[in-house]
């Protein structure tokens, strides 16, 4: 019997995405239920994360399940040289579902092969983070009332940012239009632009964040330009302050525009924007709980 897992957003069909989003909407209406009563979920975080771990644990706790796990790999047998396979085999004996974040890319796919319970990938290095994509889709649908024909403007690190790549792939089911705004060093990789061309998805590309370039946007998806991505710190210093969103830039944007950000934010969105009615990133993080409740229950067949 094949065990269902969620490793990559491409594991989900369009129908599955819509089904999970509907389920998430139900959980938003009623987040406290006893559906997971008697279930144990393991959260294995081999790499630190506050939002993702807390939101998974909140999702489980609010549904009456129990959580075991660790938030820091230094407290695990991994430090004694235990393989990931052995850790996963062992945890499979204890828990009904495993949520794992691991800096090693492909770790989640491998874990899903060796585990005897479903595995949810909560981020594997620069590769995949599918529940982030699900909560992004949920936030888009909730704020815009639909997923079809949305104009999404992605800003910042479009080269290494796994969230923008996964969102691009997932949105491809819904006839989107994209605008990519990034410094030359961090442009959207060629393979994703090819993907857009092959799927007849129109996109524009700019290197400047200004009023004109975001005028048509329904969603402004901001990302952090991460210092650790640069081999040349001089390049980082050059670009780090270019992509900063301020209230003044938002004055002439569409009234339905909402600003999303996977968080953590550093300085790419000014604090003043938090009070703007177009800011949606904290609500977006809240939606993560409902999206994860939907994913977990789906994998457990509940």
């Amino acid at each position: 019997m094949e065990i269902k897992s969620l490793v990559s957003i491409s594991d989900y069909s369009k129908e599955k995405i819509l089904q999970i989003l509907d389920k998430a909407a139900e959980f938003e209406k009623n987040p406290n239920q006893k559906i997971l009563d008697g279930k144990v979920v393991a959260t294995l975080f081999f790499e630190p994360s506050t939002r993702t771990r807390l939101s998974f644990e909140t999702a489980v706790n609010r549904l009456g399940g129990r959580v075991i796990g660790f938030a820091d790999k230094s407290t695990t047998s991994g430090t004694k040289g235990e393989t990931l396979k052995d850790t996963i085999k062992m945890v499979s004996n204890y828990a009904d579902l495993i949520v794992m974040r691991n800096p090693i890319e492909g770790a989640a796919r491998y874990a899903s092969e060796v585990a005897s319970v479903p595995v949810v990938n909560a981020g594997d290095g620069a590769n995949q983070h599918p529940t982030q994509t699900m909560l992004d889709l949920y936030s888009i649908k909730k704020t815009q009332g639909r997923l079809e024909n949305i104009n999404i403007c992605m800003v910042g690190d479009l080269k290494y940012g796994r969230t923008v790549h996964s969102l691009l792939m997932a949105m491809s089911h819904f006839s989107p239009t994209f605008t990519f705004i990034a410094p030359d060093e961090l442009k959207m990789p060629e393979e994703y632009k090819m993907f857009c061309k092959e799927h007849n998805i129109p996109f524009k590309e700019y290197s400047e964040l200004n009023e004109a370039n975001i005028a048509d946007a329904d969603i402004l998806y901001m990302t952090r330009v991460q210092k650790e991505r640069f081999t040349d710190l001089f390049e980082y210093e050059k670009v780090k302050n270019i992509y900063i969103l301020k209230n003044s830039l938002l004055e002439n944007t569409k009234p339905n525009l909402r600003i999303l950000h996977p968080l953590p934010r550093v300085n790419e969105i000014e604090q003043e924007v938090d009070e703007n009615e177009k800011a949606y990133y904290f609500e977006q993080a809240r939606n993560g709980v409902f999206a994860r409740q939907a994913v977990i229950c789906d994998l457990l067949g509940l």
Partner: protein
Amino acid sequence: MEKDNKKELKVAALKNGTVIDHIPSDKLFNVITILKLDQCNCQMTFGINLDSHRLNKKAIIKVADKFLEQDEVNKVALLAPNAKINIIKDYEVVEKKTLELPTEIKGAIKCINPKCITNNEPMFSKFITIDKMKGLFRCYYCERVIKSEDLIIE
């Protein structure tokens, strides 16, 4: 060309087995590794730096009493897409195998991504061929896309 082949085969006087001809010389040892011939007890003859019209220097492998299956043959396509593989029975070529890139390759290739799980756990790599014409492969685990010229044979 046909004539050349026959001459080669005569020299080896292979009664039954497989001949892999027209391997670029610098790929001989990789082909041996990928087919695990170094762990095989069959009688084998390797020729290297032989003169070739097509390649500057070619290599040849003759394995007695072993008939390569299609999935093994396909692995050779990763390294030497223009190699010729003939199955010999009773001194005659009974089958010419055509090389085609496999749709899935387990083991044999090392992922170039140092952060890939396959380079951090005792396990086999796995690649999915995504474009046979362009020679593009995707690591099944870290999902990195690798060009054929960047493949590292284990």
